[in-house]
């Protein structure tokens, strides 16, 4: 009898401890980082996609359903970049995570969007995003809004921890502001730098740091480059003296390397999410690394 009581007590303690931790599942590793910053020790966060994955192309799998089934909060990128999350949430049948419920967080809410299409949208425009460009996390200033959405979600999940979450959020914003000021100061001398990007992933980054995106390796979003398109880019880069090609680490190198070979431009290969490269472990590292590489590429030319 004594053993049974002890076992019951241990089980109750274990269950209590398990309840104390908020389980959060995020679509991307950047969102994982932000959740960990805002949630602190109260949260256990898992990301469905790893940092070196193309978020357009993540394949939903049953192990992801298992993670969502147990989650208190699901945080998604939104804007039809991570549509695969919809089928996972439906398959997990976790009532907390359905659209509009307390555990559903769309990090894109209230983010000022760029490249919102107007009028008719169809596949002749490539893999176009109907709500606007979804690569908004590449403007670090937007992470305040993203973290704010996460903060609201965590407060809904555990209102009694609101003060701790608020303090964590404030600490994150202070660090972000300091870093942002530093990044902007470094990029000020490269204002107006013309770059070619592989995909239309960089308008938010370019707007924040004063770069000018002169063209894309992809002729249209998601469409692989043809020889004639690359030839046109070579002519454009030579005519406009464009010396930097910016590409995500997961895209093929063939197109950028061809352009670099023909024009002498430098190829900057950027990890666009936390964990996307060995030296890019956090969301802040994404900007530390890409700005450093852009400085080198622009300075060398």
């Amino acid at each position: 009898m004594k053993k049974i009581i002890l076992a019951g007590a241990a089980l109750a303690l274990w269950a209590g401890a398990a309840r104390a931790e908020i389980k959060v599942v995020t679509a991307s590793s950047d969102l994982k980082y932000l959740c960990e910053r805002v949630g602190g020790a109260e949260v256990k966060v898992e990301s469905l996609a790893s940092g070196d994955q193309d978020l357009h192309m993540v394949e939903p799998r049953p192990s992801m359903v298992y993670k969502l089934k147990k989650a208190d909060l699901a945080v998604r990128v939104g804007l039809d970049l991570d549509m695969w999350v919809d089928s996972l949430i439906n398959a997990a049948r976790n009532p907390r995570l359905f659209y509009g419920k307390e555990g559903y967080v769309d990090a894109s809410a209230k983010v000022p969007l760029l490249e919102q299409p107007e009028g008719k949208v169809d596949a002749s425009m490539g893999d176009i995003h109907i709500y606007g460009n979804p690569h908004y996390w590449l403007d670090p200033a937007n992470s305040k809004i993203m973290a704010g959405n996460i903060l609201a979600g965590l407060k809904r999940a555990v209102p009694e921890k609101a003060a701790a979450f608020d303090a964590n959020y404030a600490s994150f914003v202070r660090e972000l502001d300091e870093k942002l000021a530093g990044w902007q100061a470094r990029m000020a001398k490269h204002k107006g730098l013309k770059v070619i990007t592989y995909h239309s992933s960089w308008p938010y980054f370019a707007a924040r740091f004063g770069l000018f995106v002169a063209g894309h390796v992809e002729p249209k979003p998601g469409i692989p480059p043809s020889a004639s398109h690359l030839d046109g880019l070579v002519k454009k880069m030579k005519a406009e003296n464009i010396k930097v090609i910016l590409t995500e680490s997961y895209y093929p190198r063939k197109g950028p390397d061809f352009l670099a070979g023909k024009t002498g431009a430098a190829v900057v290969i950027a990890a666009v999410s936390a964990g996307g490269a060995k030296t890019v472990k956090t969301y802040f590292d994404v900007f530390d690394r890409v700005i450093e590489d852009l400085e080198k590429a622009a300075g060398n030319k």
């Binding site: 790893s50 070196d52 994955q53 193309d54 192309m57 394949e59 939903p60 799998r61 049953p62 192990s63 359903v65 298992y66 089934k69 998604r76 939104g78 804007l79 039809d80 549509m83 919809d86 089928s87 996972l88 949430i89 439906n90 398959a91 997990a92 049948r93 976790n94 009532p95 359905f98 659209y99 509009g100 559903y104 967080v105 769309d106 990090a107 894109s108 809410a109 209230k110 169809d122 596949a123 893999d127 109907i130 709500y131 959405n149 609201a152 998601g222 692989p224 997961y250 093929p252």
Partner: protein, 380 residues
């Protein structure tokens, strides 16, 4: 009146504010025009070459199937999918309700249900629509045991995610009424009908039965499937399925049917786009007929490599015994190349060498599959 107006404006503003706070709508709720479902159309153009001179459908190119889908939410956590198809059947175009179902995503924690006409969740491939298949033709074991089309039933199913296993496990059970594959009105299947004057007149039959064998009548299904994340980017999925019913031509054959199947799929993602898939499915058919019990087996093994986001290279081996009383043995080897254009559009080449009871046939396909508009299926 004024107060009422202000109250309505307040409610509308509150509604807009909450919608903005919630962010992007999930699939099935997208679109800037209010109250429209996701509407999509898919086409499947197929050309087929064969050196089998007795094959009347060989060396033809044309539209093989058109599918239209209307998908959306009808209530919180409850959605409807209506998928209508017109496809070529024995050289003629015929229409059918491919699927029309209401899905209840939250009956209870971990429990969901579906009602309507639904592709049965048996194994890995049966529930897939043509445009989702990683190959032009379906494995022979499925066509031999289930017919040329996906095995679909009218009824309902319950799906439950087991809460206590430390990995993904889903169990499900369904009860169905299944007719042999039916199509719309066609003049090729006339039927003699008695008129009011007492004479008979020949009119197009409303439906006709396929000659294929397939389960039919009152059918009961069950499936359990689990998934194990062997490593960060390696997933092993195993499943077992069962079905109990009658044969499609019960009046003729008096056959009670049991089908069991197991499937095993290993998927690896070495990098962001690279992917290996090794998928295997074995199905056993048991037909109890008045003169005894027939046992038939079949399986396929499918290996696919995706080197980047645009290309897929696959190979499939099929072994299938015929379902009819006279046993036949078919083996085939296929090579498949797919070039993806968008998420719903691709072109594909497939070569198949098959041997049916010692007779060799070579076949080749060109398939162009395209999609227009937002189209989604549940997790597959």
């Amino acid at each position: 009146m004024k107060k009422g107006f202000i109250f309505i404006v307040f409610l509308a503003l509150v509604g807009i504010a909450s919608a903005q706070e919630a962010g992007t709508l999930p699939q099935g709720m997208r679109g800037k025009v209010i109250n429209l479902p996701d509407i999509s159309a898919l086409g499947n153009i197929t050309g087929r070459l064969s050196d089998d001179k007795s094959d009347s459908g060989r060396n033809e190119l044309g539209i093989n199937e058109v599918e239209t889908a209307f998908q959306g939410y009808i209530y919180p956590e409850m959605r409807a999918d209506i998928i209508l198809a017109i496809h070529k059947h024995d050289g003629d175009y015929e229409s059918e309700i491919c699927e029309a179902k209401a899905s209840f995503n939250k009956l209870a924690e971990g429990l969901s249900g579906e009602m309507g006409k639904i592709h049965l969740d048996f194994g890995r491939i049966n529930k897939l629509h043509t445009h989702h298949l990683p190959m032009v033709d379906k494995p022979a074991v499925l066509t031999n045991f289930f017919g040329d089309h996906e095995l679909a039933g009218q009824g309902g199913t319950l799906k439950y995610l087991l809460p206590f296993t430390p990995f993904y496990t889903q169990v499900q059970a369904g009860a169905w009424t299944m007719a042999p594959h039916e199509h719309g009105v066609t003049a090729d299947y006339p039927e003699d009908v008695l008129t009011i004057t007492g004479s008979t007149v020949s009119v197009p039959s409303l439906v006709h039965e396929d000659a294929d064998f397939s389960p039919a009548g009152k059918v009961y299904t069950a499936r359990i499937n689990s998934s194990f994340a062997l490593a960060d980017r390696t997933e092993l999925e195993i499943g077992a399925s069962g079905l109990k019913g009658r044969g499609a031509h019960y009046e003729e054959h008096m056959d009670n049917v049991e089908v069991t199947g197991v499937d095993l799929t290993l998927r690896l993602w070495p990098s962001s786009y690279k992917k290996f898939t090794f998928q295997n499915e074995w199905i056993h058919l048991k037909r109890e007929v008045p003169v005894g019990t027939l046992h038939r087996d079949g399986f396929y093994s499918f290996l696919n490599y995706r080197p980047d986001k645009y290309w897929d290279f696959g190979a499939r081996f099929d072994y299938a015994e015929g379902a009819w009383p006279t046993i036949s043995y078919g083996r085939s080897l296929s090579a498949i190349v797919t070039r993806h254009l968008t998420e719903t559009s691709y072109w594909r080449l497939q070569y198949k060498h098959r041997n049916l009871d010692g007779e060799n046939v070579n076949e080749g396909w060109l398939q162009v599959s395209f999609g227009i508009g937002p189209h989604s299926h549940e997790l597959e």
